[in-house]
Symmetry: C2
Subunit: 237 residues, 2 copies
């Protein structure tokens, strides 16, 4: 199976199309994206392998996807904690926080401390719109995630990686290789530098969108919101 | 397992709490409700048993849940058609229609004609806020659904039934007994008159909501958005 990648620019345009032409709200798209993330987590890290999950959320929509995923993970019986040092201004993020607080999901102030008791990390810091450089506190967070002894699942792209160029040449993230990656809607070009389990999620593509952006339909099975895919030598999936 | 029912009045209050206190938007709640409906359909009527599904949508949120379900069913590989004779004014319904049109899901003008080629019906006409009486064109639609030779899954309540009193004494709906029912959030009191496969969906309850409305947590498994439950003689699940 071969799945084409989408550039950061096209991914932004595709999201815009979904909302301006496709009738989608950000609430709906983020709900399905976060649900996909939670299902990928469930596959690579079933509850039997340890229930504490640290979800690290960045300031934008990647962080929002992480918040939705944390909510679903709490409903599945995990014990998620959220580290959310730089909250974005969108009112949706505020509502997602309230939803989590109502499920007694803790927002932890100290990443280093939280890392000690987690079994798994969800990296929802930056997605396809990341253009660098990393700003505080993220260089330190990325360094700690990079050298953590627990497995990591990255949402849309390994945070700190350039969306087309892959890992930074040096510094935080240069050795970052998450155990699992979930690409949302379609893989980003940086997957060609990625080695690990790779999922695609965000089951809302239409034929016309797939044709416009020259993508492929992921081969979702049954009611699944994610599909696991492989990577070949050219970075095609 | 015993699942308490919620009155129509409390169900309305619970929805209000979720949105006014809980941080939920209608877009999010309807997305998860419709997703639950689609998963229940998949269980009782897997694609191998015939792919044409006629989703009948009423003017309110029950109809909106049906629209979301139809979208997910299209993504699963079914061929849904939607009969939507009285569209409500909420802009969300308009956007859900656009999403379906972009997936080439037909909105059919003639219910009687559409019934001839469907393998399954989803009744998303009325939910917990139904107070009767049925207005045109629904008496005729309910009569046709009631006597249809294909199985029916009702969303939240069998349409035409009184939410506490059950089926009407006479006329359209008096003999309506869908093959399957999916209660959203919690069963409604009329389930005590229901015989058939019964699911609960809408996996977004919190402990405080469950306590406030004296409900039970459905026993969802894994990542499932629905759980099948049984009914005992007192109408308790």
């Amino acid at each position: 199976m071969s799945l084409k990648a989408i550039s950061a620019r096209d991914a932004a345009s595709l999201d815009k199309d979904l909302m301006e032409i496709g009738g989608w709200s950000l609430d709906q798209l983020m709900e399905l994206a976060g649900l996909s993330v939670s299902q990928a987590v469930y596959r690579v890290h079933p509850p039997s392998s340890g229930k504490n999950i640290l979800v690290v959320c960045g300031p934008g929509n990647n962080g929002g996807d992480g918040l939705v995923a944390a909510r679903h993970l709490a409903q599945y019986g995990y014990n998620p904690s959220v580290y959310y040092p730089k909250q974005g201004k969108n009112e949706l993020y505020e509502r997602l926080k309230i939803q989590l607080q109502n499920l007694d999901v803790p927002f932890v102030p100290d990443f280093t401390e939280a890392l000690k008791s987690t079994h798994f990390i969800v990296d929802a810091i930056f997605g396809f719109s990341f253009g660098g450089p990393l700003r505080d506190p993220f260089p330190s967070i990325i360094s700690q995630i990079e050298s953590a002894s627990v497995p990591v699942l990255s949402v849309d792209a390994p945070s700190s990686w350039d969306i087309s160029g892959g890992p930074p040449k040096e510094g935080p993230g240069s050795k970052f290789m998450p155990q699992a990656l979930i690409s949302l809607t379609a893989p980003k070009p940086c997957v060609k530098y990625y080695k690990g389990r790779h999922f695609v999620g965000g089951r809302f593509l239409t034929k016309s969108i797939v044709e416009k952006y020259k993508l492929d339909f992921p081969d979702y099975q049954g009611i699944d919101q994610v599909v696991e895919v492989g990577v070949d030598a050219e970075g095609r999936l």
